[in-house]
Symmetry: C2
């Protein structure tokens, strides 16, 4: 009995056209990573659950895909115990492995496991899929790609500068207008310290993030609701009022945060990064956003977020500096900084703006029609010459009706069709049809190579 085929929800097949588009994005990112001296690694899809559990919070633990132990996975369990323990506790007994949830934890595990072979600082990139048992919805998948570049064991802010250049280069090559927002965890700590609420960084940032939308009064109301004193709210006001260019705002922040050593350090770091990138020239808009608060659980210095200016889709790239990525695996005090390109959202942006080059549309340069056994044999020997010259070429495998063969050529967006029939065989020529103009001409095999080479 035939099965009706389907794939798990939240996963996707990619057709040749989709692959060409996605590979265009991956290749662009990979080329920029290589250009900046980052080197690729890959880690297994499966990690031990002991590596993954507890690294993404309680919710993350639930979203890990767990792999049932092979063979008799019930061994050592009693039926009654099973029902009493319930699924959460029992999972650790029947599943020892899980699918990777991101590329960061596997990278940390990799660094510690291979520390003896690695020459630090280690600049690595990694482009691989990750899996999350999230509820699937538009733009959110259970299998999706991350493209991460990190440098580990270097404190230098030149890394931040270069990562910003890399972001700029990738989106310039892709033709996407982006705005890059910067913040620094130390500035947030300084602000919280200044207003006497050192433990309320998250509450403060969540509220002030809405300033543009709801206005100062509503933000202040929310801050009060979140437990900030009127004194703290009053102290925060001048910080929210800073204005002007990035440089000017940084100068105002330096003045406001002058009593906070941490806050001042954060300002200094951003000043350095902004000055250096300005000197080198970014095409993207670089902005300071003191409400930017992604990754507060792990980022300790610069925080980076990138949004597309012409498509509403949220963050398409993010990153920041962290100080203890590898500590949990027994290698404490190693600072690193990294960025992650969200390939699937970038794909959505390029689809929305139709920014793909023509090269992603067609496969081979020429398809030879198939007019019969002898004609096909003659075609194959010319096709061999084309391929030797690096020209992708194919022959329609069956001597089908010409209409069917041309429909196939159209569906593949093949720019040229070559025809070798009886008269062409006699004359040693090829009839070449330009599929865009419809123009048709008779050429020699040598002419064919030189025409298609261009």
């Amino acid at each position: 009995m035939a099965q009706k085929p389907s794939i798990p929800k939240g996963t996707r097949d990619f057709t040749p056209l989709e692959m060409a588009r996605r590979n265009y994005i991956f290749d662009t990112i990979r080329n920029v990573f290589n250009l900046f001296g980052y080197r690729p690694i890959e880690t297994p899809a499966m990690e031990n659950l002991s590596t993954l559990m507890g690294k993404y919070g309680e919710e993350g633990d639930k979203l890990l895909f767990k792999i049932l132990n092979s063979g008799d996975w019930l061994r050592g369990l009693e039926g009654l115990d099973i029902m009493q323990e319930g699924p959460a506790k029992l999972t650790s007994k029947v599943a020892e492995k899980g699918l990777r949830y991101d590329l960061t934890v596997p990278f940390a595990r990799f660094v510690v496991q291979h520390r003896a072979e690695i020459q630090f600082p280690f600049k690595r990139y990694q482009i691989q899929p990750v899996w999350r048992a999230d509820r699937p919805q538009k733009g959110r998948y259970r299998e999706f790609y991350q493209c991460d570049a990190d440098v580990i064991a270097s404190d230098s802010l030149l890394n931040e500068v270069e990562l910003l250049q890399m972001i700029d280069e990738v989106f310039a090559r892709l033709g996407v207008n982006v705005a890059i927002k910067l913040n620094n965890r130390k500035i947030l700590a300084g602000i919280a310290e200044l207003i006497g609420e050192p433990n309320k960084i998250v509450d403060i940032t969540v509220a002030i993030d809405k300033l543009d939308k709801i206005g100062m009064d509503a933000v202040n109301a929310e801050l009060a609701e979140r437990g900030l004193s009127q004194q703290a709210i009053a102290a925060l006001a001048p910080i929210l009022a800073i204005s002007g260019t990035v440089d000017r705002r940084l100068a105002q922040l330096a003045e406001l945060l002058k009593t906070s050593e941490t806050g001042l350090l954060g300002v200094k770091e951003l000043e350095f990064v902004c000055a250096q990138t300005a000197k080198l020239g970014l095409r993207a808009e670089l902005d300071l956003d003191v409400s930017l608060a992604r990754g507060l659980n792990y980022y300790t210095g610069c925080i980076i977020e990138v949004k597309a200016k012409d498509v509403q889709i949220g963050s398409i790239t993010g990153g920041g500096r962290y100080d203890n990525l590898t500590g949990v695996f027994g290698m404490p005090g190693v600072s690193g900084v990294g960025i992650s390109f969200g390939a699937d959202r970038i794909y959505d942006v390029l689809n929305a703006l139709d920014l793909y080059p023509d090269s992603t549309r067609c496969s081979t340069t020429v398809m030879f029609a198939n007019l019969g056994e002898n004609e096909a044999a003659a075609s194959l020997s010319i096709i061999k010459q084309l391929r030797n010259a690096g020209i992708a070429a194919e022959i329609y495998p069956d001597p089908a009706k010409m209409k069917k063969q041309m429909t196939y050529a159209d569906s593949q967006s093949v720019p040229f069709v070559a025809i070798i029939g009886e008269s062409e065989m006699e004359q040693g020529t090829v009839t070449l049809k330009d599929m865009n103009s419809g123009e048709q001409k008779s050429v020699t095999p040598a002419e064919l190579v030189s025409i298609l080479k261009n």
Copy 2:
């Protein structure tokens, strides 16, 4: 408490050097696939278990990695039932998804699911990892890559011809000497028919495969042991005695199998494929092997197997024609033919013979030493010019001791190190050190670009 990091047995991390080597192999295969008009697809790592189960035999079902259902995976089960049912039956209740085991079944599922969008014949390739819960051992992994090319919905033997050209091209590019063995399922059926044992194809091929090693008498003894009559064994003798060139042997087979319509068709198919490839010229050795019997469960026509001549490692590529790949998913009677490159074994062969080009050894073309903040800033602006010219370049991020920086450059096999110190800044020059010759010279930034461009 720190965890000692490790990965699941049978899986591997790949370091930058290993990645460069593996990508060299994947890129070579991918380029040849593209050159011949095959187009890429990708399918999800996870498939529904209903898609995978029963497709690889009973043993294969056991070797599938199964993914525990998310959330309360015990829902609807009673403890007592659990112990009574045992792990095999219970698995289907707690796991609905599994990791793909090969690329063939997902391809068949893809074709049927997307049949309305696909223009047939469909020439697809797919380069993705697969997972099997095999006992790990040398050369056998639980996660490994397959590189498959198939054309579906075309009966033409030109596909077989082109697939052989593709195999030849890939191994010529990789510099690996290979022997390609050919057989045809119809010849095996003809032989079995001829000797009156139509159901003993497998027994016959297993025994005659040992001819070279153990000699005719021992083979005949084994055939008797496997239940073949003396009459059948006697009838088989002239088939085993065919000798000479491939063409001569095919002619002898045609004569011997003249009473078997199926057998003769198989001979004709091989004659066509051999004649066409001979005309086009293969660099690899092409041989006929009537004992070649891989994939007898599904292959219906040509059978292909490739071995490296200079490394003992078994088959590194295989393939054949099948007639009912998609039948199980409700699309019967579609013929196809395909090949699969075993990337991990090819990797072992290239490692054994050290066949990697120099380009797989180094990452960036030049590393700039870091002599301090001002020097680094000057370096960054020259590095930007290099990158704009397409030259991969990096700066050592920290102003560390020169010895440490040079050790890093060595470890990355960087061919050039550039130094900008105080005097270079004054003179607007760069000191360039060739890491192979040790030679050092002073150049202008423009000269630097042109030297490194070559």
